[in-house]
């Protein structure tokens, strides 16, 4: 009798637990991720939905099987333990293969979403913008009218005089027209090639509406590309604990029409 009650409890808990996981896919706005403003975000959202649905159903199936066995055998008092036919070895191998295949399948399918951001090169007309993460602010740099970024000289970084990147305009002509900003301003529907580096420690670039989260690793030049599809102002936050002021490390992403962007760029200091 005790085994039957326990089996019912297991199944009820399983059903209750599976509901929110499976519903992630079907419940819509209640649990939906924030608005997606990128061209690649839909494939990432779809992948997340599929993963949640598949994981939820697998979880539910496993719990139901567990419940069945508890119902069937939970009340036995004779103490006899039967071996699985042929021994447990083949069952374990089968389980490992099944779970392994599932993980590999998810990875293979998910690569499509991942690859659009990480494996494909940006288009030839993508706009390069550099982002530097440092304790505790992001700074962005545009190459200016000459289309060339000036060289970086870490020893020339002088934040009190707004030289956040360590440019050398005295000797480096390409650096003179570079525009630096504390806000990432981009034209809408234009592919952006974001060139990332860290000034000091590890940081992360996260814009939930863009479905992008990428760590900065000191010493590595990393790159991302994205196209924002909706005009608006969004928050960029650092999601890698980077020190005392981490809580305050953020910037804003302003997506503008091409006209507004051109006007904005002209008003910037060079």
């Amino acid at each position: 009798m005790g085994g039957k009650i326990f089996a019912v409890i297991v199944i009820v808990i399983a059903l209750l637990s599976a509901v929110p996981i499976i519903n992630h896919t079907f419940m819509g706005a209640n649990v939906a991720p924030p608005e997606d403003i990128s061209t690649h975000g839909a494939s990432i959202d779809k992948q997340l939905d599929e993963t949640m649905l598949e994981a939820g159903l697998s979880f539910l199936a496993a719990q139901l099987v567990l419940g069945f066995f508890v119902w069937q055998f939970g009340g036995r008092k004779d103490g006899a333990i039967k071996n699985f036919p042929g021994g447990a070895k083949y069952l374990v191998i089968a389980a490992v293969l099944l779970v392994g295949l599932e993980a590999i399948a998810l990875g293979a399918i998910g690569t499509k979403a991942w690859a659009t951001v990480y494996f494909q090169a940006p288009g030839a007309d993508a706009m390069p913008i550099q982002v530097q993460a440092g304790q505790f602010a992001f700074y962005f740099r545009y190459p200016g009218p000459d289309g060339k970024f000036g060289q970086l000289h870490p020893e020339k970084i002088d934040e009190g005089n707004a030289n956040y990147f360590g440019l050398d305009p005295e000797n480096d002509v390409a650096a003179r027209d570079d525009v630096t900003s504390g806000e990432l301003v981009v034209p809408v529907n234009k592919e952006i090639h974001l060139l990332m580096h860290a000034k000091d420690v590890g940081h992360s670039f996260y814009v939930r509406e863009l479905r992008i989260q990428q760590d900065f690793v000191p010493g590595l030049d990393l790159a991302l590309h994205f196209t924002a599809t909706k005009v608006g102002k969004y928050e960029i936050v650092c999601t890698q604990l980077c020190g005392l002021g981490h809580y305050n490390m953020k910037a804003y992403l302003s997506v503008m029409t091409q006209d507004d962007f051109d006007k904005w760029l002209k008003t910037q200091d060079q």
Partner: protein, 232 residues
Amino acid sequence: MQASKPCIATLIAVLSPALLFGGTISGKVTYTGTPAKQKVIDMSKEPSCAKQHATPVMTEGVVTGPNNALANVVVYISAGGDDPNPPAQAVTFTQKGCQYGPHVLAMHTGQELDVVNADQTSHNIHPLAKVNREWNKSQPPGTPPLKDKWDQPEVIEVKCNIHPWMHGWFVVLKTNHYSVSGENGSFTLPNLPPGKYTITAWHEPDGKQTQDVTITGNETKTVDFSFALKPY
């Protein structure tokens, strides 16, 4: 008894120059060449500070005025005018609108320094002292002023560990005879007893210049300084 102390101090301050010291050194700090352009500080990431400024905030590395006047230059007596004791009055360094005010703060060794946070955000003030002991202190909004003092004379760069654009200077001196030039570039060092003095002018990107001056009696001597500035 407490209330009468400032009165006596004021009385002494008013009377002593007239009674004892008559010498004054005054002058103007100017520049030649092209000063570096002041740049706009983007503090959009800290909206509580950004909204305090109606006009764009500019960097203060080089601040100039009309007629080639140069501001934020500390002019002080570096030899011949040491004062053994600091003034009883504290000096105040304020963090407001995510900027330091004043940009350059001069003080005497041992003089009390009050650091005030007038903002709605936390600051972490970090004086990059090399001779004195270096420290940094966090100051959430609404907390009372931090109090400190410096034991050794030193020019100390000050930054905020939370807001990278915040930048200022402490100029710690052995003398009470100092003046920080304003946008008209002028400075005055009053109440000097007769004697030989070395006057030093310090400017943030250019370092120090000195001139020797001798004061005899009740005179006013004019000493001007000129810094050659570069655009970059």
